[in-house]
Amino acid sequence: MIGTQSGIRRVNRIAGSVVLLTLVVWTLAPLYWMVSTSFKQNNEIYGAGLSLWPRQPTLENYATLFARTPYLIYFRNSMLVSLVTTLLSVLFASLGAYAITRLRFPGRAFLARGLVYTYLMPQSMLFIPLLSILIFLHLENTRQGLVLAYLGFTVPFCTWLLMGYFMSIPTELDEAGMVDGCSRLGVLFRIILPVTVPAIATVAFFSFTLSWNEFLYASVFLSSVGVKTIPTGIPSFIVEDVFFWGPMMASTFLSALPPLLVYFLFQRFLIKGLTTGAVKA
């Protein structure tokens, strides 16, 4: 009967499934176009031969991508930059969040509030002077410089997220540790961090994905092929005024895989990490 509990639940479930299906189609349709184009030959991509699925599937776009473009170099660079940024973000953010939540010192409240505001500084405004700073440090056109620039937005966000998480861990744990002869740093590493694996995973995930996908800074600060990352290297397939659609779509497909993999692996941590982190922040 419609009015019963299970009846309502079933309607909810069905409605939910319909909505889910719509969302999945909406999400996947453009991706389908991308993936199918990556397997099509040129005559099927343009003009009269246009098709919704590849009639003569080919791997030549991928072959072109690997053999005739520096895609693998870009991939390697993106990996390096993203991993190092992630590592350093986690380290700096853990130390900072611990300090803010566990230690008493003048300026604590100001820093806690100010940290969030630095995160909100628009990249589009900062990139011009940031270039001068990197020049001054002789870090322009280097991956190190890019990592430094990325830390500017990953560290505040990660610190803030970890702050929320650390606040939910009772200080009794710390005190117990210190009574047992642990230093503060030891408390951080031996007691708190193991409990905060979900938060660390979340923080690592965001740092990785934000670095992997970042375009503006990378395009302004990097100019040599040897150091370029994927988001900036790929548009240079646009050789003057003709598009390179097949290999471009192939590269888009491949470039989405690492963040996807990280997400898939860290999924269960993310929920917990975001919940306590963001919700309590």
Partner: protein, 444 residues
């Protein structure tokens, strides 16, 4: 006692973490503070659309490097697509590290000359003049400032009308119409969506859009500036031309609606995809058709744009080699330009580019390559007597900005989208040109 033990361990741990942070720093040591870079020659290679031509050019640069005694790691060839050059130069100039040698279009050349960024290339130009048949003097004039030449002309880009002769034939026109009125007539017969007659570039990207616009403005007597290089856009001819563009887009609908957001590849894609019957573009499209062995190749003819009351106008722009004054080894950098422009070697590249560029040495136009196909003959004819975007004036900084920021195209879009009357749009465009000239302190 326990307290002191904790203390030492704390110190140890603090020290270890400090060392860890420092160690991370040493994994990435900042470069040494030396002004000199390792490379003696940095060349920004702007792809020519044709992999064979690109290979030839890179090969020539490397040969030169070897000849000049440079080791492999002393030469850096960076591939920079033409559309990215302005942005990369902005960053590079701020760093104080522009490339040594690269190709400049007319606008960037003008701007950089005004900012005094280049080394004079007078000896190279003299050498070029000594070649049999000399060098194209018209294009040389644009690179001159205060008696010195700051650019060595590299190649002419004629704006070639790429025409689908088969589509025109089907509509009953045995050859490409020579006036805009006839073209509009033909266009209406040809246009049956999704096929359109005119892939007119009207997007906010410098280069293609302005060329298309001017190809209508000039035959009606309009121009950007007058002979004394003052803004002269506002004229009855220009207004008539703007009105024609509006008619083509709005009344006769022979232009696809999407052109307003095209980038420089928009008209290429439309033509190569068989969607339009006519585009105006440098021969890069033709080059691509050849490279792809496209079925459209045989159906394509190359013609100047249609004409009007003041005649039929041929348009072209020139690219130049320039050497930045920050080059640490100026003789090596200049030597590269001289090497690349040596007539026989230069001809190799021009022919390898399959019509992408026309030679700056008039004598090379007699090479049998240019009569091997009727389309190529058409190209040579377009180059003959081609005027530049700035005719009858010369490029200067305000004009370079006007071109780069698509100032005029902006008003065309306002006419088409906001339904601003043609006369008002032209008037406003002229006003803005004058304002920009005044900002640079140029006479109006």
């Amino acid at each position: 006692m326990a307290g002191r033990q904790v203390t030492r361990r704390t110190v140890l741990k603090a020290g270890v973490s400090a060392a860890a942070v420092a160690a991370t720093g040493t994994i990435f040591p900042p470069r040494k503070t030396s002004a000199a870079r390792a490379q003696k020659l940095v060349f920004w290679m702007q792809p020519l659309f044709n992999p064979r031509a690109d290979e030839i050019m890179v090969g020539q640069v490397r040969d030169y490097a070897k000849q000049a005694g440079l080791k492999d790691n002393e030469v850096e060839i960076q591939t920079v697509p033409g559309g990215e050059v302005a942005k990369k130069l902005a960053a590079a100039l701020e760093v104080g590290a522009p490339p040594d040698v690269t190709r400049m279009n007319e606008e960037d050349l003008t701007r950089m000359i005004a900012q005094k960024q280049f080394l004079p290339l007078n000896e190279i130009v003299q050498e070029m003049r000594k070649a049999p048949g000399g060098v194209n003097e018209n294009v040389l004039a644009l690179a001159e400032d205060g008696g010195n030449y700051y650019g060595a002309p590299f190649g002419l880009n004629p704006q070639a009308g790429h025409v689908r002769l088969d589509l025109f034939e089907k509509a009953g026109y045995s050859s490409f119409p020579d006036t805009w009125e006839k073209f509009i007539e033909a266009g209406q017969k040809i246009t049956q969506p999704p096929i359109y007659a005119y892939g007119m570039a009207l997007g906010m990207t410098p280069s293609d859009s302005l060329a298309d616009l001017l190809s209508v403005v000039w035959p009606y007597g309009g121009a950007l500036v007058d002979k004394s290089n003052k803004p002269a856009l506002n004229s009855p001819g220009t207004v008539k031309a703007f009105q024609l563009v509006d008619d083509m887009f709005t009344k006769y609908k022979i232009i696809p609606r999407g052109v307003l957001s095209w980038d420089n590849s928009g008209n290429n894609k439309a033509y190569q995809g068989g969607q339009v019957a006519y585009i105006l573009n440098p021969p890069s499209v033709y080059s691509s058709l050849v490279k792809d062995k496209s079925p459209l190749l045989d159906k394509t003819g190359l013609f100047p744009a249609p004409g009007g009351p003041t005649g039929r106008v041929k348009n072209g722009y020139t690219d130049y080699w320039s050497v930045f004054k920050q080059a640490p080894s100026p003789e090596i950098a200049k030597g590269l330009v001289a090497y690349l422009m040596e007539p026989k070697r230069y001809n190799e590249l021009i022919i390898g580019a399959d019509g992408r560029y026309l030679p700056v040495y008039p004598k090379l136009a007699e090479d049998p390559f240019w009569s091997s196909k009727p389309a190529l003959k058409g190209l040579i004819q377009i180059a003959d007597g081609a005027i530049s975007t700035y005719w009858p004036g010369k490029p200067n900084q305000p004009l370079a900005e006007i071109v780069d920021q698509c100032t005029i195209i902006k008003w065309v879009q306002k006419m088409l989208v906001d339904r601003m009357p043609a006369a008002e749009a032209v008037g406003k465009a002229q006003e803005e040109m004058v304002a920009i000239f005044k900002r640079y302190g140029q006479p109006v």
